[in-house]
Amino acid sequence: AQTVTQSQPEMSVQEAETVTLSCTYDTSESDYYLFWYKQPPSRQMILVIRQEAYKQQNATENRFSVNFQKAAKSFSLKISDSQLGDAAMYFCAYSRQGAQKLVFGQGTRLTINP
């Protein structure tokens, strides 16, 4: 069974600084997707970024980028120029290719200090 592990229950960063959230996963599949979701106090899960495993290039969405290391089964999220609105729970998630369920990590609570 696939598993996703987030080893940092909490992280904090100064506003405008850069922070990296860690995620590792375990799978025997070769084709899959990885995601980072953000969940603010409103509890709405918001898709931040996704990565297809067959793509070697790391995904980037504005201030958010990932470091995808397939061999190491590592998928970290880097947030540049942190803003107060980035404060939330961040969940790493995995899915097999083709409309499969998401397997989530336990989450990392990110605090932004003004």
């Binding site: 997707y33 509890r43 918001i46 898709l47 969940f91 083709g98 409309a99 369920k101 336990q106």
Partner: protein
């Protein structure tokens, strides 16, 4: 366009009662998922619908839980004889491209 909607936003019920939670997916999305999120934890998969295929019920925790979906539209998650351990946020998601899932705001269920 409109996102995934869920109702009710909050539901308080007494132990032993049945509850129904509703999800309206994004129009045109063929896949629909239900997840459960207990306080302070990640999401647990419950059930998945894809078009006219048989649903994947592998995440349902007991036979008190069931779900239906009418075509490619509304889905209802039913919990019978609710227990206090069922208290959680129930999140629905839909997908069109078989990769990214888009979530609704969830229903917070409290069983007294």
């Amino acid at each position: 366009g409109a996102g995934v909607s869920q109702s009710p936003s909050n539901k308080v019920t007494e132990k032993g009662k049945d509850v129904e939670l509703r999800c309206d997916p994004i129009s045109g999305h063929t896949a629909l998922y239900w997840y459960r999120q207990r306080l302070g934890q990640g999401l647990e998969f419950l059930i998945y619908f894809q078009g006219n295929s048989a649903p994947d019920k592998s995440g349902l925790p007991s036979d008190r839980f069931s779900a239906e979906r009418t075509g490619e539209s509304v889905s209802t998650l039913t919990i019978q004889r609710t227990q206090q351990e069922d208290s959680a946020v129930y999140l629905c998601a839909s997908s069109s491209d078989l990769s990214a899932q888009y979530f609704g705001p969830g229903t917070r269920l409290t069983v007294l």
